[in-house]
């Protein structure tokens, strides 16, 4: 049995220590936000927050998460009540296929929680681990900037 604290809720899961968090989130907990993209920590589609830091959930074994809090894009808001970054992504229509977007939002969330007023260069460098293939970067960047412009409160 492994106890995981996910989005403020405690989950007792009958899973092995070696199962990467991504699989537990998707299959045991039933969340869709974190996506499988590479399983190699190269694309960021699976990004979640562990103790407020952005990590690749595809490479984070559940056995390493005792006592830690996990947050996924689902914790930031919903369709009806989107969080500030989610709302900004909707307002900017910052998605094409959208497969990378949940990971993008989570990584941006980590940045703005730590630094509500990043400059452009900081945003670009911070977002570098996450890949987008549709080329939506221009809008993702604009969405993050729009939250920063409103005070960076997330």
């Amino acid at each position: 049995m492994i106890t995981l604290d996910i989005n403020g809720k405690t989950h007792e899961l009958d899973i092995a220590d070696d199962m990467p968090l991504l699989y537990a989130l998707r299959n045991q907990v039933g969340l869709n936000g974190a996506k499988y993209g590479c399983g190699l920590g190269q694309c960021g589609a699976c990004t979640v927050l562990v103790n407020d830091k952005p990590v690749f959930s595809c490479l984070t074994p559940c056995g390493a998460l005792a006592g830690k809090s996990v947050r996924t894009v689902e914790s930031l808001g919903s369709v009806d009540q989107p969080g500030p970054l989610q709302k900004a992504f909707i307002d900017e229509q910052a998605a094409q296929c959208g497969y990378c977007i949940a990971g993008m939002i989570v990584r941006a969330q980590a940045l703005l929680e730590a630094n509500p007023h990043p400059d452009d260069e900081t945003i670009r460098r911070h977002m570098a681990p996450n890949l987008c293939r549709c080329g939506t970067h221009v809008r993702i960047f604009a969405a993050i900037k729009s939250v920063v412009a409103q005070g960076g409160k997330v």
Partner: protein, 751 residues
């Protein structure tokens, strides 16, 4: 009952007007030409009504597109699919505009072989052209039939009736819903060639940026993709592929797999291997064990990547004359000559391919992110030996595919495994390395160009020859599905046939739109290669436009004419001139940034010479010592006819600019005799945020009442060419081998 009508045969008109010229070249006497199905043709269907617009030609019945009843209200069907470009919302806008209802009142269904029309593939920037045009007309005709029904029942003239939100009103305050009006109307009828006229000026939805329907769920963790499907008792599968093409399975230690905790089943058929487990992580571990425990024959050798373009010219090929006119002297006097190359590229979807299949009660249902549910259904039915009627393919979104990636093959995997484990839904998810190693690539290509000017500085002679492997290995038989090659009784791919002009294959956009009196364009269609290649956004247009526009810049320099002016001197199409002039004005061409290593570049193309127009100017700077290319500013102007969703169009163009910059500057598949090294993002780097263009401006020229021309792929070629021209301006070095900013390229610049 006089209704003004207009010929709203949008795509057809575009084809006839603009296609005629190009077809004319191809059909010159003495030039035999094998005509193939187009990439986007409704494969496996018959053109029932050649005079109808858009996809109505193949699916002429109105009730194939629109059904109305009291229970479900209005249901609109499209045979196209959402690939991440936002077309689902745009198509809904078109249907709602012409039905004159709010989009929220429409239940909108995309490709499903049990429900929707067969519109072949969603590809080639054709969705709005084919399906949008069909819905534009079908919806207006259905509304007209409903009005006629109400007018009959009320004994009123149609002109006195109005509609609002699916309710018909007369001047006496009577009302009737569409669902009431449809009673007694036979929608199972052929569409007519003419539709009720609605001037663009009165559109309330077309031309407006309706927020995309899918984005709220995608930003908040809603189930949005086939990857997110969870069916009752669903099992998770992983495939185990051979080390390379041609490898045969010698043996696999099945006992080792049985020792894993939990229940793992091995599916084996010839050299086809998959593992199935109740839990996904367990399936991954079983797959790893399977890779460790399987032994294979060596398989086909890989070629030497350093001489791949030479090899292209030596392999068996069919030669296709693409275009010829005038008289080319041999040899060309004072010609500029260039040899342009492109490497193999991959689609590189962020989410590897995935599919869910369920064989139950004799019917195989496959949820897939394919681009074409009908062709896929035929291929799968042949592969598993079921009648087509017992296979249903339902589109479910995947990660953006940008062409023929692993989607169809993953669906075939799911189908094979589901047939082996009847009664249980099977979810197959490819791993990153499986996508990278087994998706069909975009072909390596070689183009040779020779071009010359006359004494007045105008283009006079143009000779162009290219070599490419196929760009359209779509699913026309079971053998085009990769898993079918591995079976104990394998299937063989159907012979390769290029997509005919004017769409073109490797030769897409191989003919310049510029006025050139003497011209000859030929394609060598290479038939055997170690890598499977197929459609990736813009097909050959990426390198062809790059080659043409590089050459045009060189010739402008020889003529000592500004490159933008030089282009205008050879363009008569006013819409082509308009995008060029718009970019030049907005960019303040030839205004050049100060600072070391900076340069500007310009490029133009009309996609396939019959679709959207695009001009681009790029300002960049090159760090000569490190070879880093930083894109400072991109200014684009596009004309895609009547704009359906300005923001959707903007999103596509912005995305195309970034994607093409990544292809053009960085991307190539790395391989050598020891194997294919681009199995992950370390070995196949693409553009990341720090390299993003600093500033991207897109200017959209709307053409109310003009045909839809398509948008998604129009920018790939021009962006590539503008980058090449800007690097030339910045460094004085004409780069002709893609990708441009490959490791060590700066050595050619000198210190």
């Amino acid at each position: 009952m006089k209704n003004p009508t207009q010929n709203v045969n949008l795509s057809r008109r575009a084809f006839v007007i603009n296609g005629a010229l190009v077809m004319g070249f191809a059909m010159l006497p003495g030039i035999p030409r094998a005509f193939a199905d187009t990439e986007v043709d409704t494969l496996g269907t018959t053109i029932l009504a050649p005079d109808l617009p858009g996809s109505l030609r193949a699916t002429p019945y109105l009730d194939a597109w629109i059904r109305i009843d009291a229970k479900d209200g209005i249901t609109v069907y499209t045979g196209k699919v959402e690939l991440g470009t936002g077309v689902k919302t745009a198509l809904l806008q078109i249907a709602a505009e012409r039905l004159e209802v709010s989009p929220g009142l429409i239940r909108f269904l995309t490709a499903d072989t049990a429900l929707t029309p067969n519109e072949g593939y969603t590809a080639g920037s054709h969705t709005i052209v084919d399906s949008g045009t069909a819905l534009f007309n079908a919806a207006a005709q259905v509304r007209q039939l409903l009005l006629e029904s109400a007018a009959r029942q009320w004994q009123r003239s149609i002109d006195s009736l109005t509609t609002r939100d699916a309710v018909i009103y007369d001047t006496q305050g009577r009302s009737m819903t569409y669902a009431q009006a449809v009673v007694g109307v036979q929608l199972h009828r052929f569409a007519s060639a003419n539709s009720p006229f609605k001037p663009a000026g009165s559109f309330t939805l077309i031309g407006k940026s309706l927020p995309r329907l899918d984005i709220p769920a995608k930003v908040s963790g809603g189930a949005a993709y086939v990857q997110d499907m969870r069916l009752p008792d669903m099992l998770h599968a992983r495939v185990i592929r051979p080390p390379r093409r041609g490898s045969q399975l010698l043996e696999i230690d099945e006992a080792a797999l049985r020792q894993l905790p939990g229940e793992v089943k091995l599916v084996r058929n010839g050299s086809y291997l998959a593992v199935v487990a109740t839990d996904e992580w367990l399936a991954v571990k079983a797959m790893r064990e399977g890779y460790a425990k399987a032994r294979w024959t060596e398989g086909n050798p890989l070629p030497d990547s350093t001489h791949i373009h030479q090899l292209l010219t030596e392999l068996p090929a069919r030669r296709y004359p693409v275009s010829a006119k005038g008289d080319l002297p041999q040899p060309l006097p004072r010609a500029y000559k260039a040899r342009v190359t492109k490497q193999y590229l991959m689609h590189g979807s962020i989410g590897p391919s995935c599919a869910v299949a369920w064989f139950k009660d004799g019917t195989l249902t496959v949820w897939t992110h394919t681009q074409g549910v009908y062709p896929l259904r035929a291929g799968i039915a042949e592969m598993v030996g079921l009648p087509v009627a017992q296979v249903r393919c339902i589109h479910a979104e995947g990660s953006g595919c940008y062409g023929h990636n692993g989607a169809d093959d993953a669906a075939a995997d799911a189908a094979l495994i589901a047939m082996a484990i009847p009664g249980k839904p099977i979810r197959v998810q490819w791993m990153r390395e499986q996508e990278n190693l087994w998706e069909p690539y975009s072909s390596a290509m070689l183009a040779e160009v020779e071009a010359g000017l006359d004494d007045s500085g105008r283009l006079r002679d143009w000779k162009y020859e290219l070599w490419s492997t196929p760009h359209n290995e779509r699913i026309v038989n079971a053998g085009r599905l990769l898993p079918a090659w591995l079976l104990a009784n394998p299937f063989t791919p159907a012979p390769s046939v290029p997509i005919a002009q004017p769409e073109g294959d490797g030769d897409r956009n191989a003919v310049p739109l510029y006025e050139i009196p003497n011209l000859k364009v030929d394609m060598n269609f290479v038939l055997t290669m170690p890598f499977r290649t197929s459609a990736m956004r813009s097909l050959g247009a990426h390198i062809n436009i790059f080659a043409i526009e590089s050459t045009v810049d060189e010739l402008a320099a020889r003529a000592t004419i500004d490159p933008v002016q030089f282009r205008l001197n050879h363009l008569s199409d006013p819409r082509a001139r308009a995008v060029v002039e718009r970019v030049a004005a907005e960019f303040r061409w030839p205004h050049k940034a100060t600072g070391p290593g900076s340069g500007i570049g310009f490029a133009f193309a009309r996609y396939k010479n019959i679709m959207g127009y695009c001009a681009i100017a790029v300002q960049l700077h090159v760090q000569r010592q490190t070879g880093q290319v930083m894109i400072d500013r991109v200014v684009a102007a596009v004309d895609v006819g009547q704009i359906v969703s300005p923001d959707g169009l903007l999103n596509q163009i912005q995305g195309g600019i970034v994607q093409s910059a990544s292809w053009t500057l960085y991307e190539r598949i790395l391989y050598d005799a020891s194997g294919m090294h681009s199995f992950d993002w370390s070995g196949y780097p693409i553009m990341r945020f720090p390299d993003l263009p600093q500033q991207v401006e897109v200017h959209m020229i709307d053409q109310p009442d003009q045909p839809f021309l398509g948008a998604a792929e129009i920018v790939q070629g021009p962006m590539a060419a503008a980058l090449g021209n800007a690097i030339n301006d910045a460094t004085g070095k004409r780069l002709l081998d893609l990708p441009l900013a490959r490791r060590g390229w700066q050595d050619a610049l000198g210190s």
